[in-house]
């Protein structure tokens, strides 16, 4: 809905880890993509997230990583996210969205806020404006 509002047409994809403990969905439109993992991000499933996120980073200028449906994340998950973000990437490349207290603690304590922007709401006004501005400057549909 968020991307559709900003960019119009949205393409959605979904992958499930082989053990069924993590599903990763992506919804992309224009230069932005939302990556939404659902389930546990641990040693077993972290590579699954890393693959999806790496692809998202390679193909889009703005990446939202929506962690609202993540039930567990440890350092395996943190390293997967960091590995997918290229060294020296612009700070606005990846924004992490999360409401879960424990996920927030892990992200902050691991020092990930140096690499990613941290948001509590995907439709945060500032981000919507940034995204819309980006879309507008690249000739995307801005509805």
């Amino acid at each position: 809905v968020f991307l559709g509002k900003v960019y119009g047409e949205v393409m959605e994809m979904s992958w499930m880890s082989d053990d069924g403990f993590l599903e990763v969905r992506t919804a992309s439109g224009g230069h932005a993509v939302i990556v939404t993992p659902r389930g546990d991000i641990d040693l077993r499933t972290a590579p699954h997230l890393e693959r999806a996120l790496r692809r998202a980073v390679e193909e889009h200028r703005i990446v939202f990583l929506d962690l609202r449906d993540v039930t567990y994340i440890d350092m395996s998950g943190v390293r997967a996210i960091e590995s997918a973000v290229p060294q020296g990437a612009p700070a606005e490349l990846i924004a992490v969205v999360f409401p879960s207290s424990i996920v927030e603690k892990v992200v902050l304590l691991a020092g990930m806020s140096d690499v990613v922007r941290v948001l509590h709401r995907l439709d945060d006004a500032g981000i919507a404006a940034t995204t819309a501005r980006d879309a507008s400057s690249h000739g995307e549909k801005d509805t």
């Binding site: 053990d19 403990f21 546990d40 641990d42 040693l43 077993r44 567990y72 440890d74 350092m75 395996s76 943190v78 960091e82 879960s100 207290s101 424990i102 603690k105 892990v106 304590l109 691991a110 020092g111 140096d114």
Partner: protein, 150 residues
Amino acid sequence: VNAELLGPPQEPVEWHLTLRLLTSEEQIRAARKVAAMSVRAVHGSDEDAAAVELAVGEILTNARLHAYAGGVGPVELEIRVADQAVQIVIHDEGTAITSVPVVPTAPPERGLGGRGLYIVGQLMDEASVISDSQGRGLLVELRRRLHSGV
């Protein structure tokens, strides 16, 4: 006094559980979920359960990566809940190392290692690593006060 008015007898809020497991990815996952359920069973808060699950998962993953060089080896996980606190001891039987890791009290720089142990230290009220007196691996001892989730 009418016994029915008193309701069912209150069970003592104590829990003591010992698991012997291997550091396979599946058993690490199962063990951390058991730890979280143990906290919930004594009415710990969701925050308590999530913190304990993360700490146990992180320490068991460390055992796999460091004590067993990324492979599978035996670990004993002891969970004791009493007096509104959970105490956890995780004992691996990996190769004895010369320097026992210290739980960092400040965030380590990325790439230097120790971030997982730092997070564990921040989530627990007490966290320490000691070497086994018989030279059989390391013991990680954790303690966290529980906050009622009811």
